[in-house]
Point group: C2
Chain length 363, copies 2
């Protein structure tokens, strides 16, 4: 790009247009899948359920970062391919959410019943509740598996030249294994309050910082043939940002407004989710506060009164403030990384806007 | 190949050598993953469990067919790449089995505890039984997800030229979606005895005939640049063979010897697995036989006495004999397809041996 700051001022700043292009491609792709299933007399409900789930909302943070990475590395011209690659990341994310919700037995996501809940209801007729629940979980596992396979197909059919596709696949493979390791650590550490902040910080690094921020940016940048210094700059921006994003998510999971977040603010507490927030509270709790957490946190029948008592401890121990501080520090680190390496102006602006939105958001 | 019948007589006939080469590659790959996990301070048990599962046995039918397909299409010379592609199919199969076992809540596989059972035991300390079971299922879902991702990586790192890899990916994507649809149909039809033989036949077609036989052959053949008539011949062989293989599997699941099959012969009956065998029995049952099936089939606490009564009905209605007839017919169709299209001699011999072994086996 001869003049990177003005060559493509519109698209990287127009997040709504990127989201719409990604959603349109996902909808078209899944409509095609629904027709193919019907032509082969295969059951359509698995595609229908996935389609509703994928298109029911979500921030599209990974697709946005992927497109930003492409612009940051000097990508320009036709955006069809980069949008389709970005859509593939969103389909992969649908897989991850569907399986996470099964593992956590979450009831709602994005303000709707989770996929296993939806199937449990659909398949209830003529079955016991236990049988329907088991079937719902099985159908959701398969829906996730199909979303993972289709995220592959979306990538393979994005019109990339064979050489470029082959160069991209190792990045995608690494991203996937990282988020799965992160989820495993998250899963086995849930309910275990002994470990301090190291484990939840590692979960955040693998499950969010690398997966949600670093790899989408690097994938987009690689598609535009990024130089190593650009990739390094994007990582230096993405890793603290991803941590800040997840720390904000953890705060919203406990203190957020459900009508804004689309998630219950009891789920994380009932589940005993081992967050940095809770680990810090335990570290700084006095005897009585520790007992309150030990009695109430991770209790699957926790009610709003109990939740308020936990929230009181999270605030009184200073954990909430400390997490806000950590978010602020990491936001500053991300912005500093943007200053160190000059990227095309619209990309820098877009990345700064994302950093602001990801850390001060309410949903 | 100038003289296809003698150019490479050794390898396609030496199934043990193919199995060993595939297993060695899988072991090396997973050893490398274990070291990488350790270097990154990631939990090693997920790799260890997957490694034990993958290397605990199995017929390696898909890798064998993949290698046969390559020879059938004139593949020759260095077998490194085709073995690595074949290993990727086996890793995908590990994913499919691990998730299937979760969905069916099976306790044993290949004579060992299933992956979710293994994790449930490993993660039992300090947890209630329900919490440990839920965690075991979550860990097994993730282990399957990782196996799926690593089957991608095994394919991507098999040393294929970028153009050839790009040509292969659509076949792999189609194979995966087919088996997932087949598993979904299998899942939702389990316990539903109303549907006749159409549904179990469709399940067999997608879950076994296409996935287990046709696609591995076509993938191997495509790697050797197969002509369309070779691909057609392989499909004509594979589809009836795959059906026969699964029909034999269904018989073994009820009438087989557990010390030979490595599987309980109560699981399918307790689970209410909707097989062609059971559908045929229902179609030809008198009132009393139908009542026996209705009372006992799909009962999760079925004992050996009840199972013997079901086996009696499956035999007395002629269902067992009919399934044996179906196997015989399909075996003949597969062999006939081999006669119609001349393939390299060693490949034809190998495919005939596989057809015999898959249909008359006892394990």
């Amino acid at each position: 790009m001869s003049n990177p700051s003005t060559a493509h001022p519109a698209l990287p700043l127009d997040f709504a247009a990127v989201r719409e292009a990604v959603d349109t491609h996902l909808a078209d792709y899944l409509d095609h899948k629904a027709r193919t299933a019907s032509d082969h007399h295969m059951p359509g409900e698995i595609v229908d359920t996935l389609r509703r789930f994928v298109l029911a909302g979500g921030k599209r943070l990974r697709p946005l970062l992927c497109v930003c990475g492409w612009y940051a590395a000097g990508g320009s011209g036709d955006t069809t391919t980069i949008v389709e690659v970005a859509a593939s990341l969103e389909m992969f994310h649908a897989f991850a959410l569907i399986h996470d919700d099964v593992m956590d037995r979450s009831a709602t996501r994005r303000g709707h019943p989770t996929v296993h809940q939806t199937f449990t209801r659909q398949l209830r007729a003529g079955r016991t509740r236990t049988a329907a629940e088991r079937l719902g979980i099985g159908a959701a596992i398969l829906t996730g598996d199909l979303a993972l396979t289709w995220s592959d197909e979306l990538l393979h059919t994005a019109g990339l030249p064979a050489e470029r596709l082959a160069a991209l696949l190792p990045l995608v493979d690494a991203m996937r294994a990282e988020v799965m390791y992160g989820q495993y650590l998250d899963l086995v550490s849930t309910g275990d309050l002994a470990g301090g902040v190291d484990v939840p910080l590692k979960v955040i690094r693998y499950k969010t910082a690398k997966y949600t921020c670093e790899q989408p940016l690097r994938i987009g940048a690689t598609l535009a043939g990024a130089a190593p210094r650009v990739l390094d700059a994007l990582s230096a921006y993405a890793l603290p940002l991803g941590e800040a994003f997840q720390l904000r998510d953890d705060l919203l999971g406990v203190f957020g407004a459900p009508d804004q977040t689309g998630k219950s603010r009891l789920d994380d507490l009932r589940e005993g989710k081992h967050t940095v927030l809770v680990a810090l509270a335990l570290q700084h709790a006095d005897h009585g506060q520790r007992e309150t957490l030990r009695c109430l946190f991770g209790n699957p029948t926790l009610d709003e009164t109990g939740a308020e008592r936990i929230r009181g401890v999270l605030a009184a121990t200073g954990a909430r403030t400390r997490v806000e501080d950590m978010i602020r520090t990491r936001h500053a680190q991300a912005c500093h990384a943007l200053q160190l390496t000059p990227l095309p102006g619209p990309a820098t602006l877009a990345l700064r806007r994302i950093a602001d939105a990801a850390t001060v958001r309410i949903s």
